[in-house]
């Protein structure tokens, strides 16, 4: 593996020193499965805790609003993209699937709002993983 060029931005003085030494793959995996888990592992406790509360809360609100966890359907690009976004929520997605939630109720007046919450929760978790990636590399 090629050596990474040193970041031009100085690391935060309060950043834990061993953060850059954590295996990136584990940061990604933990950050994906547990929203905010990457930050918690890297020592950014306050940020990690905020993500750990907010993202699953958005996911639960989406389910409560009769949103749907979309199946992966390559023939329907929009549904496929929505399903990828749903999977981005990590463990909450798999738990909801296992418990039979997320069937979606199209006739519900809040159906689209539920979908918006579910999709946004997954996409925001992807941004959180990218942020954890930057922290792990010492860029933030």
């Amino acid at each position: 593996m090629a050596a990474r060029a040193p970041s031009k931005r100085p690391a935060r003085p309060s950043a834990p020193a061993p953060a850059a030494a954590r295996p990136l793959a584990l940061v990604y995996l933990l950050g994906w499965l547990v929203p905010g888990g990457g930050h918690l592992w890297l020592g950014r406790t306050a940020k990690g805790a905020a993500f750990l509360v907010m993202l699953p809360l958005m996911f639960v609100i989406g389910l409560a609003l009769d949103g749907r966890l979309f199946p992966f359907a390559p023939g329907d690009p929009l549904v496929a993209l929505a399903s990828i976004a749903n999977v981005g929520s990590g463990l909450p997605y798999f738990i909801a699937q296992a418990l039979g939630f997320g069937a979606g109720r199209v006739i519900s007046v809040t159906y689209e709002y539920g979908n918006a919450f579910l999709i946004a929760a997954g996409l925001l978790n992807a941004l959180v993983i990218i942020d954890a990636h930057d922290i792990a590399l010492g860029r933030k």
């Binding site: 935060r12 940020k47 905020a50 993500f51 907010m54 993202l55 809360l57 958005m58 609100i61 609003l65 007046v109 809040t110 709002y113 918006a116 919450f117 946004a120 925001l124 941004l127 959180v128 942020d131 933030k140």
Partner: protein
């Protein structure tokens, strides 16, 4: 909770996205609160503005 209020649900969505965005983008609590307030105001303001624009369009 009034589940049929579109404005309430839109505001709740904007608040959630703003909270995550603020924490994600900034490091100090004061900066996070300011950024979250800006994101929230932008989302709600844009939604209301587009809502009024669409109101005057003959559909």
């Amino acid at each position: 909770m009034n589940r049929t209020s579109h404005v309430l649900l839109m505001t709740l969505f904007a608040a959630c996205v703003a909270a995550v965005g603020g924490v994600l983008l900034k490091d100090t609590p004061a900066e996070q609160a300011r950024t979250a307030a800006g994101i929230f105001g932008s989302l709600v303001g844009a939604a209301l503005a587009f809502g009024w624009i669409l109101y005057f369009l003959p559909l």
